[in-house]
Amino acid sequence: MARAVTNNRKALNTAIAWSIGLIIFFPILWTILTSFKTEAQAISNPPVFLFFDWTLENYSVVQERSNYMRFLWNSVFIAGGSTVLGLIIAVPAAWSMAFVPSRRTKDILLWMLSTKMLPAVGVLYPIYLLFIKLGLLDTRIGLTIVLMLINLPIIVWMLYTYFREIPGEILEAARMDGASLKNEILYVLTPMAVPGIASTLLLNFILAWNEAFWTLNLTAAKAAPLTAFIASYSSPEGLFYAKLSAASTMAIAPILIMGWFSQKQLVRGLTFGAVK
C-alpha cells in the first residue's frame, strides 16, 4: 500500500524508521563494539562508544579458554544435519498434503504443529533415559535427531504452504508427459519450489542453531554447540563484559552474516510461508 508522498514526508519517515531500527539493533551493535574494548573501557563511566583503543585480545582469550572451533563445528553439524534430514522427510509429506489433500489433511497438519506445543520439559527425563540407553547422550547424532524432530512440524508446514502455491496442473502435465512420481518431484516440483525450500532451510537452520533447551540438557562436553559455549559465560565470567561480548559475537556472527547474504529468502522464511 505504499504511495507517492512528498520528499519532506519521506525524510520524516526515514528519520523515524532509522531511529527505531537503530534502537532495536543497538544491543547487538553494543555487544559487537564492546568485544573490541579492554575490560576497563567496557565498564567505563561514562560509556565510550567508538573512540576507544580497539583490540582483538578478547577474541584470542576466549578462543584459548574454550576452544571455539569445536563448539562451532558442533553447531554447524547439528543445525545443518537436522535441517537436511528434516527436509528429506518433509518434502514427500508436504507433497502429499499439498497435492493429494484428503479430509484429514488439515487435521494431520494441525496435529503435527500441536506436537510442538508439548512442553519439552515434560518429557525431558524420559528422553534423557532413552538417550543413556541408546548411548546417544552427548553425541552430535542424538542432538541432530532431536532437533530434527522438534523442527519437523515447522518444516512440513512451511513446505506445505509453498507447495500449495504451485499449480497442480503443472504436476499433472508432468504426469501426462510420462514422468513417474519420483521424476515429477525431482524434475518439476523441487526446482519450482527452490525459493521456498531455501527459505525453509535457512529458517530451520537458525531455529536449530539457536535452540537452547535440548542442546543445554543433552550435552556435556563432546557434542556441546555454541548455545552451551555461551551459557558457560553466565557467571562469574559474565562480569567480564569485553570477553562476554567477544564470545557472544562469535556465537551469533555466523547467523548474522548468513542472514545478511540471504536476506530475501530469510524474510520470506521468517513468515513461515504463512503470509504472502
Binding site: 484428503s102 520439559v121 524474510v267 503470509v275
Partner: protein, 288 residues
C-alpha cells in the same frame, strides 16, 4: 482430487513424518505418565514403587505451583500483547516510503537471529546490571537511583528481553500482510472521507487478522517453552519461575523424577488447553 494410485503414494510418503512424530510424542509421553505414578528418586535408590496420585497432589499442593502457572501465562500474554501492538505500529511505519528501507528492515529483524542464551546474557549483564549496566548509567545520568532490574522488576525485565527477540518476527509477518493490502481500497476510503483511525479500524486491522493469528499461534508455541532466558537471567528466582522451569528444577535439581513427571503431565494438560483453543481459531482462519 486425484487417482487411487496417487492417493496410496501420498499415504506412503506421509508415513515417515507421521510415524516419527507419533513416536516422538507417544514414547516419552507414556514414560512420563508412568513415572508420574512412581516414587522415583534416581539419587536415592531409583524407582521406589507405586505412588498413586501422590505426586499429582504434592505437585499441585506445592506453594510454587499456582504462581508458576501465573508466571507462564503472564509472560506469554505480556510478550504477545507487546509484540503484536508494537509489531503493527512498526509494520505500518516500515511500509511508508523512505530511504534505506532494506537496511532498516535488516536492523529490525536482526534480534531474531541472536540465540536466546546470548541475548539473555547480554541484557542481563551489559544493560540490566545495577552497577555497570548501560541502563544504570542512564538512570544515574538523569539523577535517578539505578533499578535492580532482574530482582525488583524481574517479570517486566524478562518480558522485555523476550519481546525484543520476538518483535522482529511479528513485525515481519505483519509488514508482509500490510504490503498485500490493496492501495485502491484505502484510496477509495480516503475519497469517502474516512479518517486514518477509521481506515485503520475498518480496513487495515481486519486485513491483518490472519497475520495476527499466525503471529499469536507461532509465538505461543515457542513462548510456552521458553527456558534459556530464565535459566540464564534469574534462574527462576524473583517470581519468574514458569511451569516449565519449576518442572525442570524438580527433575534435574531436586532429582525427583516422579514429582517432576506429574508436573510434566500438568504442563502437557495446560499446553493442550492452549492448543485446542488456538487450533480452533487458527483452523478457522487458515481456510480463508
Amino acid at each position: 482430487m486425484a487417482t487411487q494410485q496417487s492417493r496410496s503414494a501420498a499415504r506412503l510418503m506421509m508415513a515417515p513424518a507421521v510415524i516419527l512424530l507419533l513416536g516422538w510424542m507417544l514414547v516419552p509421553l507414556t514414560m512420563t505418565l508412568w513415572f508420574s505414578f512412581r516414587k522415583y528418586l534416581p539419587l536415592r535408590g531409583g524407582d521406589l514403587g507405586w505412588a498413586g496420585f501422590d505426586n499429582y497432589t504434592r505437585f499441585i499442593g506445592s506453594s510454587s505451583f499456582w504462581p508458576s502457572v501465573q508466571a507462564t501465562l503472564v509472560i506469554v500474554g505480556g510478550v504477545l500483547i507487546i509484540t503484536v501492538v508494537l509489531g503493527i505500529i512498526l509494520a505500518l511505519l516500515l511500509d511508508q516510503p523512505m530511504w534505506g528501507q532494506g537496511v532498516v528492515r535488516i536492523l529490525v529483524i536482526a534480534p531474531f537471529f541472536v540465540m536466546p542464551t546470548v541475548s539473555a546474557l547480554v541484557w542481563k549483564n551489559m544493560f540490566m546490571d545495577p552497577v555497570n549496566g548501560l541502563f544504570a548509567y542512564v538512570w544515574k545520568f538523569f539523577g535517578a537511583a539505578p533499578v535492580e532490574w532482574l530482582s525488583q522488576a524481574s517479570m517486566q525485565s524478562i518480558i522485555m528481553i523476550v519481546s525484543w527477540q520476538w518483535l522482529p518476527f511479528a513485525t515481519l509477518i505483519l509488514l508482509t500482510a500490510v504490503q498485500s493490502l490493496d492501495s485502491e481500497q484505502l484510496e477509495a476510503a480516503e475519497m469517502d472521507g474516512a479518517s486514518f483511525m477509521s481506515r485503520f479500524w475498518y480496513l487495515i486491522l481486519p486485513h491483518l487478522a490472519r497475520a495476527i493469528t499466525i503471529v499469536v499461534l507461532i509465538q505461543t508455541i515457542f513462548l510456552l517453552s521458553i527456558f534459556a532466558e530464565i535459566f540464564v537471567t534469574t534462574g527462576g528466582a524473583f517470581g519468574t519461575k514458569t511451569l516449565s522451569y519449576l518442572i525442570f528444577q524438580r527433575v534435574l535439581e531436586s532429582q525427583n523424577v516422579g514429582l517432576g513427571s506429574a508436573g510434566g503431565v500438568y504442563a502437557i494438560i495446560l499446553a493442550n488447553i492452549v492448543a485446542i483453543f488456538l487450533m480452533r481459531i487458527v483452523g478457522k482462519n487458515l481456510d480463508a
